[in-house]
């Protein structure tokens, strides 16, 4: 099933012509942004120098840190009276990355999501429960718009209150569910405990974190859904950048809207299809916040084989990063960010360790071990309880991460020589 068969199956010269036309438009759009004006000037480039798709390699990369430096609106290519929506992603040192959308962007974004959902077999008549955070996270409102676009009946259930979520699936006879894969596992277990009948479900769209083929098997068997992997990031609109078709062998990225390069993250050299490297994307359709050669830091490859479904080249499923960013319960977290927050609490000091585990509930759990700072010990148990609460609250308030805090004895944590590794990801995905 196609939402827009012509554009989804566009290939060869016809696709390249469209990509080039849109690339030229995008480059001109970026010239409204001081960062890109300066970049072109420093590289000795003129927008008209980009005459072929390959010419894009003359343009330097854009990094997430560039976007952060532009906080809040440094990357806006349109005046505020053209901006229709603002989202943010959590940021390293307290500063988030801001992403903005024009009315046209929101329309384009929902169009791309409509392609994905149609590809997963969804249509009007489906009841679509979106168990994603509806605040600044693009997986809430973004997915919502796309599901509405195809005419599905959307249940904006948001996150949390798992029992209520399950009751709704059962009572409303929900047919499609979107959430993070780890939340889906948790929901499955609770549903089994409740003896709930979730047989109305047929499609599960899972994204915002990496998940394995084993998790797919588990979810498909226990939740009785066909599970689709969804990839996206706020800088590229949000979810919906790439999505699985019924083959479940790689994700289709929308080549009319995103120009894909795979690079060697060390050298920046562009790699041929079939080689793993970092995904670099130039979105071709973004008005409010156009980007050029954006380094996603996600490791994947362009697959060589054509897909039987007729759509364009796929990206392999995502498993690694070329930086140390972690995705915990769908939230992007840098170890440095956690360290920064902990160090800002005087009672914590320098000696702490952070562990990330996927617990029995299948939800990611942060455990923070903090060495008692002797100078803050008054001898009262209540001080520790207060300190625990303070750490939990500070992490929640600054980087929206929920953590379990364990206080340990002075001298009991590992000491590092050289570069300390205080954040350890122990999850087996």
């Amino acid at each position: 099933m196609f939402w827009n068969e012509k554009i989804e199956t566009l290939k060869g010269q016809e696709l390249r012509d469209l990509q080039l036309k849109r690339l030229k438009w995008t480059i001109h759009q970026t010239q409204n942004i001081p960062f890109y004006k300066r970049m072109f000037k420093e590289a000795g480039l003129h927008p008209d120098d980009i005459k072929t798709l390959e010419d894009i390699r003359k343009i330097p990369f854009t990094n997430k840190s560039d976007l952060r430096d532009g906080y809040p609106f440094g990357f806006l290519a349109v005046p505020m009276n053209k901006v229709n929506r603002i989202h943010t992603t959590s940021g390293t040192t307290g500063k988030p990355t801001v992403v903005a959308y024009t009315k046209g962007d929101l329309e384009t974004w929902s169009e791309l999501l409509a392609r994905n959902f149609t590809m997963a077999g969804l249509k009007a008549g489906d009841i679509f429960q979106n168990a994603a955070n509806y605040a600044l996270f693009t997986g809430g409102l973004g997915i919502h718009m796309g599901a509405e676009k195809i005419g599905a009946a959307v249940v904006p259930s948001g996150t949390g209150n798992t029992k209520r979520q399950i009751e709704m699936i059962e009572d409303f006879k929900v047919t499609a569910l979107h959430c993070t894969p780890s939340y889906a596992m948790h929901l499955t277990e609770v549903a089994e405990e409740m003896n709930a009948d979730l047989s109305s479900l047929k499609v599960g769209c899972f994204g915002a974190e990496a998940w394995s083929e084993n998790t797919r098997k588990d979810l498909e068997n226990r939740l009785s859904v066909e599970a689709f992997d969804s990839y996206g990031m706020s800088e590229l609109f949000g979810p919906g950048v790439a999505f699985e078709c019924g083959e479940h062998d790689g994700l289709h990225i929308w080549h009319d809207s995103y120009l894909v390069e795979i690079i060697d993250p060390e050298t920046g050299e562009v790699l041929e299809p079939g080689n793993h490297g970092e995904l670099v994307v130039t979105p071709l359709v973004k008005e409010a916040m156009p980007l050029l050669r954006y380094r996603t830091r996600d490791i994947t490859m362009l697959m060589e084989d054509d897909c039987p479904c007729g759509r364009g080249p796929k990206l392999a499923r995502f498993f690694g990063r070329s930086d140390d960013m972690l995705t915990v319960r769908g939230i992007n977290v840098f170890p440095s960010q956690v360290e920064h927050v902990l160090r800002s609490i005087p009672e914590v000091g320098d000696q702490f360790m952070v562990y990330i585990d996927r617990g029995e509930s299948h939800l990611d759990e942060f455990t923070i071990q903090v060495e008692m700072n002797k100078t803050f010990f008054s001898g009262e148990l209540s001080d520790f309880v207060k300190l625990q609460q303070k750490i939990v609250k500070t992490l929640q308030d600054t980087i929206t991460v929920r953590a379990r805090v364990e206080l340990v004895e002075p001298g009991s944590l590992p000491r590092f020589e050289g570069k300390a590794k205080r954040v350890i990801d122990r999850r087996v995905i």
């Binding site: 008692m372 002797k374 010990f377 008054s378 001898g379 009262e380 148990l381 520790f384 309880v385 625990q388 364990e406 206080l407 340990v408 004895e409 002075p410 001298g411 009991s412």
Partner: protein, 144 residues
């Protein structure tokens, strides 16, 4: 005046893990310090060991040397009759004096019972308790 009733309890931070109590007890053994009263308050993965010993300074130094987080905490020991209602009598009087007990633990000491109490202002509390006719056990009975 009431200094004599102020008992120096050691409050030692400890993780809650197997073998921990033995490790702590070993320090008392090695230093030849005698434990008069002992109590553990726990929360989640850790706890505070509250202990009254004959030689608090010796114990303090030994624990500090081994990098333990510990502090002296001033507490009072209230003498209770070792008969049914002994605790009630003591607690009632403390309540009537409007003294809030942050925590307490009791043990038997010879012919009578002793209630160790941690209150906000031990000096003031000792004065008030004495005035109300409550018998306090002098610190010298524990530290020697």
């Amino acid at each position: 005046m009431n200094e004599e009733y102020i008992i120096k309890q050691l409050s030692i931070f400890s993780e809650n893990k197997a073998g921990k109590l033995a490790a702590i007890a070993k320090i008392f053994l090695d230093t030849g310090v005698s434990i008069q009263a002992f109590n553990i308050a726990e929360a989640n993965n850790f706890g505070v060991i509250r202990v009254i010993v004959d030689k608090p300074e010796v114990a303090f130094e030994a624990f500090a040397k081994q990098n333990y987080a510990l502090k002296y905490t001033d507490v009072l020991a209230i003498k209770m009759q070792d008969v049914p209602g002994g605790l009630f009598e003591a607690a009632k009087l403390i309540g009537e004096l409007n003294i809030n007990i942050e925590y307490a633990y009791a043990f038997r000491s010879g012919e009578y019972g002793a209630l160790i109490v941690r209150v906000a202002n031990p000096g003031e509390a000792a004065k008030a308790l004495k005035k109300a006719g409550i018998e306090l056990i002098p610190a010298a009975n524990y530290h020697f």
